[in-house]
Amino acid sequence: MKGIYNIRTLFEKYYSEYGNYIDAAAKFVTALILFMQINGRIGGKSIFGNIFVELILALVCAILPPNVMIVLAFVAALLQFASVSIASLAVGGGVLLAVLLLYFAFASRQAWAMLLTILGLFFHVPCIVPISFGLMGSTMSAAGMAAGTVFYYTLLTIGKLGGASVDLAMAKQSTAEKILAELQTMIDTLLSEQEMILMLVVLLAVFAVVFLARRMAMKHAWKVAIAAGTVIYLVLMMAGYMMLHLEIGILWILIGTLISAAVAFLLEQLFFNLDYRKIENLQFEDNDYYYYVKAVPKRHRNDEDSQEMEAGRIDRKGREHHDGHETIHS
């Protein structure tokens, strides 16, 4: 436990100083993995398949908001679908566009929920996402997760079917009926994708349980929430797979659940009551001076004395607490 406390203290210290660089690095790594997975699963031969293009786009994503990553992932998927077949482009592109429109309509601030859901599903550890966002996110994170789930299964299904279909070069020689039949097969397969519906229900149920449990007024609410979420995930997945007669990868479900639970407990140790304010560099002026201010956050302990010292700072929700011990560096 002391080791985790030391890690947490180091994390607080380095994040406050280098938070912007850490955020950029996290976005770069996420974007690179996402683009590589999309290209690997669909298997097309567009320009997005080139590793250098992926690196450049990941660098672009590192400095821009996370919603840009989602749009670029959509464009990458479209180009890969186009290089496979017309039918893949039509069905895959249509479904992904509809998902994106609904995402921007309802959950445009939940980019990380959507991105991490897609990555969690790629790496067979989807349980991490609803537990993490149930602990630290808001209600609209559910919409982001739902969008990510549909995005992932569309990529997977169309990628599998498109690989066995007519390719672009041959499409010109195929009849309209063949393309129509291919379209119908793809749409039917996608709509009857029972695993997608099961995963959607399970992730939302786990999120709801964790979200409600961690807000309860009881000791160790986070631990109870993590345990409840893990159990619910395991039970629903096993029951769902058996009822729908799907192929069960029991090992993957168990391993994924164990990893998710471990990560969730680690998150609880690192982020519960964490003060993750960064150093703020500010510029403003009045009638007499220009001010270049570097505001360094103070670290407070979580005890009764620090409750009073907490007063005076403005937290992320804009609520001010009264504090008489701030230091301003200019």
């Binding site: 921007f104 309509a105 309802f106 119908q184 749409i187 703020e280 009045d286 403005i314 804009g318 701030e326």
Partner: protein, 140 residues
């Protein structure tokens, strides 16, 4: 001479503007009805396009059934189904939009109230400074 209290207050205002500038601007510039109306209009467009894509894909998947109905001149039935499903989707979507937008609006208003408290404090500190200068002049 630097007024530390004033610098502290201005720093807090600057941090708030940096992290919540968009919400503060919207709370300042929009009435509730306008804010909600803009969001409803934007989402109505998104939902309509998403619905049309879904309808197209559904039409392709059920092409045989559609052609059969068209051959039997059951156009009215098809149109009724399309319109009813569109209205149901739009109602559900716009209701959800309304709830989310109202929640965001009230959050923005709460932020703006805190922002105004800080501005008032800044104005009060300016008054104190001015009063001090006046007192010094009187003493001379």
């Amino acid at each position: 001479m630097l007024n530390k209290k004033k610098i502290r207050t201005m720093s807090k205002i600057a941090v708030m503007e940096k992290h919540h500038g968009e919400e503060l601007q919207k709370a300042r510039e929009y009435y509730r009805s306008d804010y909600v109306a803009v969001q409803l209009l934007k989402n109505a467009c998104y939902l309509t396009v998403a619905y049309m894509i879904g309808l197209l894909l559904w039409g392709v998947a059920n092409m045989d059934m559609l052609i059969e109905k068209l051959n039997r001149m059951q156009i009215k039935g098809i149109l009724t189904g399309v319109i009813v499903s569109y209205l149901l989707c739009m109602t559900a979507g716009l209701l959800l939009t309304y709830v989310i937008t109202m929640k965001r609006y009230f959050y923005g208003q709460e932020l703006f109230r805190h922002y105004q408290v800080l501005l008032q404090r800044l104005e009060d500190e300016d008054d104190i400074e001015i009063l001090e200068v006046t007192d010094l002049r009187r003493k001379k």
